[in-house]
């Protein structure tokens, strides 16, 4: 198995990184280009960029901003938010993304996942699943999609998704730890890699998440102190978690 991954996540709205708690009360957390470059240089294993308003406001993805972030990265770059077609995915790859994440549009039209996989390959298609109480929510968490998270993840895999990015809305921004039960349930339902998201407060939480998932997403904990990534990697290594040597 490849090494466990730490993945900083830039939730972007209006050209700025934002962060809230349980998807609410979004506050400014910095410039996406600067933060992306800092995380790449500090040993992040990948970077995720989610345009959190793209779906709600039906905006086309922010191609120009994605280009500027990509210009500064030397690590894999996943971009999501408002991906509705294979052409959207291709435009993001042309802007410098390596993978695309799809969420609400796939819930509305699951065949989209297969169309994306055929165009860019399964390894570049990330199905983002936002869940509360184990149920999937669409449109930045505002709408109950009427599906169980593990069942939807398994369906997404069958349709061609190559990774599951599982966010617990309940844990998001709380720093009280990842939703390990939900993550374990989804990881058991699929054979593709799972990225745990929501709730990181410290190295202990991340280590727990990496026991059930293949990667851990980090946001609030890093944005307030971007130097935290390097110290977090050190603490995890000291605790016996094998992480890549980024030198």
């Amino acid at each position: 198995m490849p090494l466990p991954r730490l993945i900083p996540c830039l939730d972007v709205a209006g050209g700025r990184v934002v962060k809230g708690i349980r998807f609410q009360g979004l506050r400014d957390a910095g410039d996406p280009v600067e933060l992306g470059a800092r995380y790449s240089d500090a040993g992040a294993d990948e970077l995720v960029f989610l345009d959190v308003k793209a779906t709600l406001e039906e905006r086309a993805n922010r191609i120009e901003l994605v280009e500027r972030v990509a210009e500064r990265l030397a690590i894999p770059f996943t971009v999501g938010g408002g991906v509705r077609s294979a052409a959207d995915a291709e435009a993001l790859l042309r802007a410098g993304a390596d993978k695309v994440a799809v969420n609400s549009a796939a819930l509305e039209r699951p065949a989209l996942i297969g169309e994306l996989a055929e165009r860019v390959g399964s390894q570049a298609v990330v199905l983002a699943v936002d869940a509360t109480g184990g149920r999937v929510h669409a449109r930045a968490g505002t709408t109950d999609a009427g599906r169980d998270a593990a069942e939807w993840a398994a369906e997404g895999e069958a349709l061609g998704a190559g990774e599951i990015l599982l966010t617990s809305i309940d844990a998001d921004g709380t720093r009280a730890g990842y939703d390990l039960a939900l993550t374990a349930r989804v990881a058991a339902a699929v054979s593709v890699p799972v990225i745990a998201s929501g709730g990181a407060g410290g190295a202990g939480h991340v280590a727990q998440a990496l026991e059930v998932a293949q990667a851990a997403l980090l946001a609030s904990i890093l944005h307030e102190d971007p130097d935290r990534l390097a110290s977090l990697r050190g603490e995890l290594r000291a605790a016996g978690v094998l992480l890549r040597d980024a030198a």
Binding site: A74, G121, G162, V192
Partner: protein, 181 residues
């Protein structure tokens, strides 16, 4: 300065590849033009997508012939390595470019796609992988967790990992590709 042609066959992460090569000093052209591919100091066949659609796009642009005719070095990345083989099991079976002996077979161990950073032996560095198929070839020159990570035949060099996305280790690898010893 080394002139590098990055083959654009419709769905690759061509921009990522171009950025990484420019960073180590290459003069990069992203192209669909077979003559540009033929004339470059280094041709790069990048790799995101599925085998059947990629092969169809390469053929319709005439890039398959340009790559076969090259005498200078060519670097195939990920799917670019798999397409260079004689065949791939992906998409119900696809005929490859035949620049490398062997075929691409679906991975069966662990979680597939195999995504993440893994050590490559004997390169003594850690690189980023994202693949569901891997080469089964007698031309292998490096391995990662039982998968072929690098293969070489004549002027063709293929890597299963993504040097363009592998941080400092990847940059060192690309530098070596630009100035072979």
């Amino acid at each position: 300065m080394t002139r590098v042609a990055v083959c654009d066959y419709g769905a690759g992460n061509v921009r990522s590849v171009a950025i990484a090569l420019e960073r180590v000093g290459a003069q990069v052209t992203v192209t669909t033009d077979a003559e540009t591919v033929a004339a470059a100091d280094l041709a790069v066949l990048p790799g995101v997508g599925s085998a059947a659609s990629a092969m169809t796009a390469l053929r319709s642009a005439g890039i398959d012939e340009a790559l076969r005719a090259r005498t200078g070095p060519t670097l195939g990345i990920c799917l670019g390595l798999q397409l260079a083989l004689e065949s791939s099991d992906e998409d119900g079976g696809v005929e490859g470019l035949g620049l490398l002996p062997g075929r691409a077979r679906r991975l069966s161990d662990g979680r597939v796609p195999r995504i993440g950073w893994a050590a490559v032996d004997p390169l003594e560095d850690t690189f980023y992988f994202a693949h569901s198929f891997a080469a089964d070839t007698p031309a292998a020159t490096a391995w990662s967790e039982g998968c072929v990570a690098e293969a070489r035949s004549g002027a063709f060099l293929g890597v299963q990992f993504h040097p363009e996305k592998s941080g400092a280790a990847g940059a060192r690898y690309l530098e070596r590709c630009l100035s072979p010893a």
